[in-house]
Subunit: 498 residues, 2 copies
């Protein structure tokens, strides 16, 4: 790809530890590591990997909880010259075994907490060598580590694909470097930034926080999982409050619920909101109490953000996912790859130095997705007259009903603006007359009394007739993947239980 | 060079204008241009260049005052696919003609103020086509401009070499991009930054401010020249005060004199101090009134900064020029290119993505300067135990006296700490007994009474005997180049008039 960054740089963590050894690199598991300490730990671990026989260029899988060991493993795998394949802890052993075999990975780093899962995996995916992170031989590290080739493979991250078999997106050092750089060019960079990862580190949204931390020389704060009260406490903490946090809409909603919409301190300068179109009621609620929400659009294939609102646009551009980051390009195309005009919906295509060179061992899927240098995302959206991106939906979730396009996200947003509704999901079902029709699954606020009729009337007042759900089911929660993304293809299972 | 950045990006200014058209790009000549306006102006000018026959890849020289036209020309030349050769306005027509012929440049962009110089140049350097900036045919610009190839030549900047023939340092797009990025990773980046250029834009220290502006989306404030009162007013301006300013020691001293050491407002977050070792009395004076001085070490060949103090180290590391910026490496070598230990002085060698691939049309000088991927700078310095760089002097200015190394900068700093001394320069003269000996030229504060004996006694109390100047001459000013660097090889001329 001509748009990928080439050249080489010193090992990022080692470089950073040379420049600012005493700055705090990581806060996790109740303690703090400065860059000098993180570097020393990663060096030992890398030497251990080397001793174990890990070869430069091989893919090493990682199965670990959010925590300091995960972070050290990320840097150690890079230092050993291997590529990192972070595994999704929510998948079954057979799903993970399939991914390992697909990637041709034969070594698995795991932490103590995931020992049983690792053993189950080994039974399914032979041959697989297990390397317990806590038990790797402690080796003294040699001198300066090898340089990073920006065109080389840094990581393989399997897409959290809501449909079909996952594919391993290859991300180069250059992809990650440019992603971090472009994010700073948009959000700004303050030496005392503290970026909270309460998303899984095995997703690109979490992983990229760790890489930004060493490139910027700022602190990554890592929580073991998402706990709204804990996130709020980390933001409120006086003197060392989190300044940036990455969340999806559902998490942000729970954070606001937990604090009863009390405003956040001014030290919180950015709530980076990804994971799909954000419900407008949530954005308005944030605007009212001054939460500095910045919507973003990103993919595994773009090493996280590719378009993000500028902080000062957050309020005037409510609902927009921003403009492409510096160096990135974005266009909307129709089925024939022709560019669509402003305001017209179509598939979002992206290009730039943070875009994956392709899918591991998948030349055909790569060629299908990346055409003329543009990655076709499968997401539907439009650009307004000034070039701001608005995300409508996943192409796969589009409901074509009587020739009309129905975007589930639009109906969900409408339902979520009803005071009784906590969250809503919409999917398509077969319909003799229209081909397909929308069905909604709704989670009500505690104490609210379900009334299908009232909710349907609410929708009919606000939406064109063909968009009103054919049926509304109730559930206690909605199916989401580890990144918090709504799994619409599983909504049918949930609603059948209601 | 494996360390240079490769790949391609959209035209920087055009990309920036798409992302944030309404942000202020430039303040110069008494008016403001936003990025949309600057982009439109550069596009017209680029189309004009195209119309005039400028070919992609050719070198276009620029002879213009600091101002908006200079800035538009910089971006227009890049957009036309040509490489920029900014000319030093203080040189004579024959010196400039030599450079044009050395570079093989046959087209010269000039502003109205430099028309006579341009014509004189044309008479010396045939064939040379003159293009008056104010009179270029206005052309409507086509659609999206070509992408920037990061490995391509962006500019040729002749070194302000204090000795010998100047050489044209080639700077690629990747050199400038990484320089801007690495600077932000060290100094931080705030969307409302305003960076003042009061140095000539034809030097890399000024030029790099313009490129950072479009990469960051922040404002470049351009003064026609250095006027301490005007600089101070720009910093003090309420609501839109300059936040960063690039200066050399002599300028900073005059700024403080002009305001009688009144503290600056807190909006001034960084005074980037380059141009050689800074006198300690000046640094202490700044520390006392809280001027946020950040020392830096940079060269034309490194597209400006290569090592810079972190802002928080400014006071604790008084006198140090910092650590290498992220991605850059620095070492001290002896005559045989062997690395010297911490604390030992030697030649400074640098490596990294902002380092020039070499000198234009000078394969031998390039090979002599860049060995094993390391650029040997000709500057003398040492690294302390923690890796902080201390600049001692130019290798060419070193005075070897009776087998001892004498660094003029050390004697100058001592003289400058005397209350009667405004500035001091030291150079070597032949000495029958010692080989060479130091001679000082001193500029006194107004009203001070010159006393050679008192100054010599002052030096003898503070310096080893062999370092004390053999003679002290007095002058009304010291010879400096356009970047404000002391020209020690011309000190003999000055002192002979005293």
């Amino acid at each position: 790809m001509t748009s990928g960054l080439g050249g080489s740089l010193p090992d990022w963590l080692h470089d950073r530890a040379h420049i600012s050894p005493d700055r705090i690199a990581l806060e996790a598991d109740g303690f703090r590591l400065d860059f000098g300490e993180l570097d020393a730990g990663a060096a030992e671990l890398a030497a251990g990997l080397d001793h174990t026989g890990v070869k430069p260029g091989e893919i090493v899988a990682l199965l670990a909880q959010n925590g300091a060991l995960f972070v050290q493993a990320v840097h150690a795998v890079a230092r050993a010259g291997a590529a990192l394949m972070p595994l999704n802890l929510r998948l079954t052993p057979s799903e993970l075994a399939w991914q390992l075999s697909d990637a041709g990975a034969h070594r698995l780093l795991h932490d103590a907490a995931n020992r049983d899962l690792a053993i189950a995996l080994r039974d399914e995916a032979a041959p697989l060598e297990l390397l317990a992170l806590e038990k790797l031989p402690v080796q003294s590290a040699p001198g300066d580590p090898p340089r990073f080739d920006l065109a080389a493979l840094h990581s393989v991250v399997y897409t959290s694909g809501t449909t079909g078999r996952p594919k391993g997106a290859m991300l180069t050092y250059g992809n990650h470097l440019w992603s971090a750089t472009a994010s700073a060019l948009n959000l700004g960079l303050q030496p005392d930034d503290r970026w909270l990862a309460c998303l899984p580190l095995f997703h690109v949204g979490g992983l990229s926080i760790l890489l930004r931390s060493v490139i910027y020389g700022t602190t990554a704060v890592v929580h073991p999982g998402f706990d709204p009260a804990r996130v709020n406490a980390a933001i409120d903490s006086e003197g060392d409050g989190v300044t940036i946090v990455s969340v999806v809409a559902n998490m942000l909603q729970r954070m606001l619920d937990e604090r009863s919409d009390q405003p956040y301190p001014s030290s919180l300068r950015c709530v980076l909101l990804g994971g799909g179109p954000a419900p407008e009621p949530l954005l308005r609620r944030c605007a009212e109490i001054g939460v500095p929400v910045v919507q973003t659009y990103g993919l595994t294939e773009t090493a996280s953000q590719i378009a993000t609102l500028a902080p000062q646009d957050a309020l005037p551009r409510l609902g927009a996912a921003g403009k492409p980051l510096f160096g990135a390009e974005l266009r909307i195309v129709d089925e024939n790859d022709s560019q669509r005009a402003a305001g017209e919906a179509g598939e979002i295509a992206v290009r730039g130095p943070s875009v994956t060179p392709g899918y591991l061992n998948r030349p055909e899927e790569t060629a299908a997705a990346i055409r003329d240098g543009w990655l076709h995302t499968g997401d539907i959206g439009y650009l307004d007259g000034e070039g701001y991106l608005y995300i409508l939906d996943r192409r796969d979730d589009l409901i074509v009903s009587g020739g009309e396009n129905i975007y589930p996200a639009e109906i969900e947003a409408t339902l979520q603006s009803h005071p009784d509704v906590l969250e809503a999901g919409v999917y398509g079902v077969e319909d003799d007359r229209w081909g397909r029709s929308p069905v909604a699954v709704v989670v009500l606020h505690e104490g609210a009394v379900p009334s299908t009729e009232a909710l349907l009337a609410f929708c009919r007042e606000r939406l064109a007739a063909y968009k009103a759900p054919k049926r509304i089911d109730f559930a206690s929660s909605l199916p989401r993947n580890a990144a918090g993304k709504l799994l619409r293809n599983r909504l049918g299972d949930v609603s059948s239980f209601s």
